[in-house]
Every structure is written in structure tokens, then in C-alpha cells.
Symmetry: C3
């Protein structure tokens, strides 16, 4: 894919001003980032993208070891961090079966972290409990990267989502972002909304009534004077949308399965409905999908969800390089 | 082990005539290979063998990443591909617990493949369903190597089986190959028979009546004018056998356990029975074995089954190098 | 942490006298080591420590492959060996789910080992059965390192325990070592006692009556004229202790849970009780802990248990380098 000209320039102002900005720091929450931080990270991610396109892999983190400590499985996220570390020439200790290990003997998270950091240089942590990454970071001397802590945060997902917008459409200022699907339980849309609120965007929320964006998120974003619009009328707002962010509506959320079935059908993105959308816009999805976007749409250039996965690689490469002081 | 003189020459005619023959191609089925292809692959495998003997590991695939995507466990096959990639200087993303991952959230194989290929350069796929690899290959831009799709194919096993014959005895033309055990369900003997039918061999099948070679395989091979001989009289054909390929007879195949017990005993390869065999011949087994070959025979030079495992390493190194254009 | 001056010199006499001492050898039991061997291994481990401090990782074992064959899970031990191999520039084949693999099809340990060694250069084996490592070593051509065989041995743990004493306090001669907790089932205290009996030490054993050091271990150590003292009076011997080795007392060992509760409280190491101990001494624990040492003590310089984990890395690096002839 050819890079947008705009994408090559938007990161320039922060080129190498903050060489040690994230060195030895933890990546725990989207709330820790300023607009300047984001553009700096994305500038590094963009360099990673260019390096991968040119040479595939390089030895920036040769000799560094990453522990992928996953208390719950997430093939997608752990694979992405694994690839990121390997494309930077580093090594991994994958720990996927925490349930069978010393942890199941009653070991505390701080002890596990302090043991692991004897062996490695950085720890990526996935944990089912909110706040686990912050707890780990409190005890660790080595940087902790939060790869999802329960219903809490998954900051690298939010970063890759925003980075996708930058790479595909350039600077998000002036853009209209429509979020579609389960906006209540979807941690990705909450985090992305927060990050987008640092820019001059317009947000549309389209969801079934029982899966609306939580009022506290709406209030938080309202304080930043970001226009927000809740609707069930998707057809009306699709034509103005620059970024359509689709999420999975899970059957389990509905008490009455008939409600689920009726809603399910009304939100499927396919080539037909997309005729109403702009020619230059993108459709995103955190994946996995289970029918929200029809496979017939996959070959449309606006279908950005697999490229979005790829951008995740570059963002994670950037974060690893940054916290290890090698960006 | 000293290499057969013959083994060093038999691959020569195809030395470097087809430098890009398998570049970016999928390895899905034994049916995709001509005799020329096989000799070309084995020539590359033989070079890999020599390089490993000389230097252990080398950086031919440095910077390349292989995803080992195993929907069902197979330590032997995944370890072999892991070692192959590592001896070529490449890296791995092992995905063994697909049952816990996004797939269990209902993701389709094409979506999983298209996500993974954002991170890696080649995908090795093991899947319980026939045709899974072909489906994956249809959607993937990166090469797919079939590491077993249910009762379908396991082409790299068949290739390593045939390569073992080449390395141990030279060109298979004129050789007598006897297959012993479960010839009905054993996917390895079906695939090996197909590959052997490209050469001028004689095939003997020795099995319990309920585990005979399927008639469609016999018909297929018959079309190539390969002499085939079905018998229960193992003693009669052992003396003429150049390659004895033994497979495991699984208890579960028998309705009446007494039938299993009576058969089990009659097919055990041990030093005593092997007195009737040629001095220069080999005994192969895809492993694991559970009694079909007695451990007392392991030190006999004709016991080739552990060397066979080692040849698997070289064949897989060759395939990885070929599909990545680095052979 | 600054190295003890003494620690830098104590290994000198064996600097490079035994360059091939452990080349191609198995590491199966603490009983295989002489005092000279131990000091030689620790000298190499100390060099590893200095190299890691200086450069993090280096290519001593580049191109070598280690199989981590774990028949039962042990995140701590497998992570430590993984890090050791990666810091030496080598590669790994992790095999953690033996229960799902060919072994569950009835394959014998010798066959699994002989298959694996076709791919790798050294095998680290964890197995629930006593003697499994010795059996593996009998059949393997490549070196086997015992990473725990049931209630049998776990020699690398004992080595790292003793190496911790060397690095923290120098030569153990003249030191008083107090072992506290479950001395009956704790394989680590048995092995460490055996290793310590090669030096001029005094051993104290403090445990609940039903968890006393086994009489055969006491008899064995007695033969070497090592003073041993069994007591329940911890307060009395704490002040003279140079090394306090704490182990976990497992609830499951007690028939009457009231006995467990009463004992549990009486053996907790915290800042208050440690006021009675020397200023220059160390507290060790094989980890995981579940309350035997209070987290309030963690910041005390005498709390050596996390450093102990780190020393494990250097000892395992030394062993890998030694058995592969690269020390």
C-alpha cells in the first residue's frame, strides 16, 4: 500500500525532540498520553513501518528479552508483541499458562513480577483484574506494558486504533468518527474515544439501546468540547463518516435472544450499504468479527481492519523501542 | 553417519536449475509434486544436512518469522518446524492453544490467517479439518505449509519419508517397499505410496484384513503401472524388502479387543525376525511407536526411524528456504 | 548491587584449569559434584554475571538449540532456562504440553528423547518421576540437564542456592546455615544440605515436629563430620545465623488444619523478628512464598530471595555453556 503523503509529514514536528520521553516508563493507560506524546509515538511507529517494509527485521533490540506474561489467553495480542520483539531482533519468554504455574501455588503478582524481571528487560502483562498492570508497575524495576487488564484498559489497542487513522487518513482533526455496535462493554471504543478527544473530531455513536456509550464517558469527552451525537439512525450519518469503527455485538449481552437476532441483522456492513459512504473513508474493527462486516466487503480499499492489525505491529515495536531507550 | 556416495550425486541434475520453483508457493498436498520437484527439494534438503553437520545453524532466514499455527497439538511436527526455522536463523510465533483464543470467539480461519500474516512471513498450519490448508492458502498472501489437515494430507511427512529412502538407499528406482500395519487409516502410508508411484518401485502391503490399503489408493497407483502386492504373509516378503515401513496399529480400530491382541503380537519387528531381512535395507516408522518395533532392534544399523526424524528437519528447512526464496 | 571483593577472588584457583570438565556431560544429581567442581561452575557463573551486567546478552551459544521438555509445569524454572539460553544467544524449543502430545499416545521417554535430540543440542528435562533424567541420559547422545524429577532431585536449584551464598557472603566455610520450615518434603533443603556438607559449615534445622529433616539425610551429612542441630527454638539460633533458608510449609501436609494454623504463625519472617539477626547475613527462599516471609521485609538488604532468582540465571547460563563446551 502506498503511504499517504500527509502521513509522512504529520509526525515531523516531534521528530527527535523527546529521545528519552518514555525510557524506563510503564505503558498503563491511555490517560497518560498528551497529544504531543501520541504524535511522537506514531512518528516512531511510522519509522518502524518503513524499516519493516525495507528490511523486515533489524537488530535495534538485539539482546533484549521481553516476557509475555498472559494470565488469560489472547493469541492476537501476544502474537503481535511477539512479532514486534522479533522484528526488532529481541527475544521472548512466553508465559501463557499461568494457571498451571507458581501463581496457582498462591504466589502474588508482585512476587511473580519481581522474579520475572530478574530474567528480562520488559514485561507485557495481560491480566483479568482491573489495576493489575498498575500493581505490577508499582513493584517492578523494569517497564510494564499493559496488554489488557480486565474491563479496565488495553492502551496499546487504543494506540493502534488511533495510529490507523493517522496512517490511513492523516491528522484526525476535522474528521467524523462513527462508532457502531456494542458501545457499552467495548473497552476499545471507550479508550479510542478518550484519545480522539485530544483532537478536533466529531463523534457519532450508533448502538442498540441497551448497548449505548456509558454516560460517564460521554460526560468526560463533553468536558473537552468534542461534539458527540447518539443515534440509532445509521443510514443518516454514514455518508458524513470518515472513520467507521465497528465492534462485535455479543449474543450474551441480550436477555432475550430475539432482541439479539433483530439487532444483529440491522448492523451488518456490506458492499451494498457502503455505497452510501464516502469514497475516501475507512472501516475499522478490533477483530475478531463474527458477522458484523460481511466478507464480501474485504476487498474494498476502505476495509482497513486487516491493515489495522498490521499497524498494531508498528505501534508495539515503537513502544518496546521507546521504553527500552532505543527509539 | 557417513553419507552414501550415491546420495551425494542423485540430486545433482537439478542442482540450481529451478531457483525460484517454490518461491511464494504453498505446500498443500503430495499431488503437487513432480518427480523433478521431489529431487530438487531433496537436493536442497541434502545441502541443509551438510550445512547443519558443518555449522549447526546459519543465517539464511535471519529476520524471517514463521507462525506455527496448531489447531491440534503435535509436539513432534511443531518441534521439527521450530528447529528448522531456528537452524536457518529465523524466528517463530508458536500458537498452540487455539482453543482458548480468538478462534474460540467464533473467528473464521480466513480471518485468523489474514491477521497472522500481518506479522509473519510464512505460516505452518495444523488443523483437524480436511481442506483447512487449502482454504487458508486461498486467502493468504504469505505461503502456507500444510502440517496435517485431519484425515487429509500431511505432505511434509511424506516428503521426509521419501527423502529418508533417498539418503539411506539412494534413488528408489528398482526398490521394494513393504508397508506394514494399519494401512487403512494411516495417512502417512497413503501419501508415501502416492509419491513412490512417481518412481519405478514395487509395493507390498501387509496388514490385518480390516486395516487393508483402501481400494481407491490401490486403483490410483495401479494407473501408474506400479506393481502392488497385498498379503498377510509377512515372512515371505521380508527377505526381498528394501524399505520396511511400519505403522502403529491402534487398539481403538478394533471392535473386538481379542482381535487386536492376536494381531498385535504377529507384527512386532525384533532382531530375531529381522535375521530374515537383507543386510542392506532400512526399517522406517513415522513414530510414535507403541510396541510394533522392539527396542532391542534400535541399535541395528537398519533401524532408520530416528534418522528419519532427523531427515524431517532437513526437508522442512529446505521447504522453508524454498517458499521464502532463499534456497 | 556491588560485588563482594571476596566473591571476585574465591573462584580464581579454578579459573581455566578444567576447560572441558563438563563438556557433553549430563547434569543429573548434586552427588556428581566435588567441591572443586562447584567452585569451577560458580567461577563460570560469576563470569556470566559480569557479562550480563556489561552487555546483557552475548553470542556464546549462537546457533545452539535447547529443548525445554517439561512434563509438568514450572514457569519459574523454564523461564530461567529460557532466559539463560537467550542471553547466550541460543534458541529454544519449548515443550510444555507433553500431556497432549505424542507422549499421551503412549510413547516412551527414551523415544521422545531420541526424537528430540535429532533437532537440538541440549535437553532440559522436568518430569514427575524419580529417575526420569537418568533414564533419559542413558539413551540420549546429547547432554541432559535435570530440572527436577519428582521427589528426586533438582540439582540446578541446589547449585543456585549455594552460588547465592558464595556471591552474597563469600566462601561458605565457617558459616552457620539455618533451614526453616518444611524440611521433610522440601527437596531443595535436602540437596542444599548435601552440597553444603562439602564445606566446613554448621547446619541448624528448625521445623514443626512432623516436618523434620529425614534421618537418612542427617546420617549422610553426619558422616562428613558436619555439625547439625535440630531445634524448634528459632529465636535462640537466629542471632548466630549467616544464612537463613526459609521454605514453604504446605497446608496439605497437615491432617489437622489447626496444627497448620498454629505453626504457620510461628515461623513468619518479618522486620521485627529480624532485629535479632546479624546485620550481615542473608535470608533465602526458593519461592514461591505464601506468607512465610512478610512483604515488609523485602526492602531489607538481607532479603536475598529475589537476587537468588537472578543467580539462578547465571548458574544455568554456566551449565549450558559448560555442557556445550563453550565456557
Amino acid at each position: 500500500m502506498v503511504l499517504e503523503k500527509s502521513a509522512q509529514n504529520i509526525y515531523l514536528p516531534f521528530g527527535d525532540h523527546q529521545g528519552t520521553r518514555f525510557y524506563k516508563q510503564d505503558i498503563l493507560s491511555v490517560n497518560q498520553f498528551s497529544q504531543e506524546d501520541l504524535i511522537y509515538i506514531f512518528g516512531v511507529a511510522h519509522e518502524m513501518r518503513e524499516m519493516v517494509a525495507r528490511v523486515g527485521t533489524f537488530d535495534l533490540l538485539k539482546g533484549k528479552i521481553l516476557a509475555n506474561l498472559f494470565y488469560e489467553p489472547s493469541t492476537r495480542t501476544s502474537s503481535s508483541f511477539t512479532a514486534a520483539m522479533e522484528r526488532l531482533g529481541g527475544s521472548l519468554i512466553p508465559i501463557n499458562e499461568v494457571k498451571y504455574s507458581s501463581v496457582s501455588k498462591g504466589e502474588s503478582l508482585p512476587d511473580t513480577i519481581r522474579t520475572l524481571e530478574c530474567y528480562v528487560d520488559v514485561i507485557v502483562l495481560r491480566h483479568p483484574e482491573v489495576g493489575a498492570s498498575a500493581l505490577a508497575a508499582k513493584y517492578a524495576k523494569k517497564p510494564i506494558i499493559n496488554a489488557g487488564d480486565g474491563v479496565g484498559e488495553h492502551p496499546t489497542q487504543a494506540l493502534l486504533d488511533l495510529y490507523t487513522i493517522f496512517e490511513e487518513l492523516g491528522d484526525p482533526n476535522g474528521k467524523t468518527v462513527t462508532m457502531l455496535g456494542d458501545l457499552k462493554y467495548g473497552r476499545t471504543v471507550h479508550s479510542l474515544s478518550r484519545l480522539l478527544s485530544l483532537f478536533d473530531v466529531k463523534l457519532n455513536y450508533v448502538s442498540p439501546p441497551i448497548l449505548r456509550m456509558p454516560s460517564e464517558i460521554i460526560a468526560e469527552i463533553n468536558e473537552k468540547n468534542i461534539p458527540q451525537n447518539e443515534t440509532e439512525n445509521f443510514d443518516e450519518i454514514l455518508p458524513e463518516t470518515d472513520v467507521l469503527y465497528v465492534t462485535r455485538v455479543q449474543k450474551e449481552r441480550f436477555e432475550d435472544q430475539k432482541d439479539y437476532e433483530s439487532i444483529k441483522g440491522s448492523y451488518v456492513i456490506d458492499p451494498d450499504i457502503m455505497k452510501k459512504a464516502k469514497e475516501k473513508m475507512i472501516v475499522m474493527h478490533p477483530l475478531p468479527r463474527v458477522g458484523e462486516i460481511s466478507m464480501e466487503f474485504d476487498d474494498d480499499p476502505r476495509a482497513a481492519y486487516f491493515r489495522q492489525m498490521e499497524y498494531g505491529l508498528y505501534v508495539r515495536m515503537a513502544l518496546l523501542a521507546l521504553v527500552l531507550g532505543k527509539a
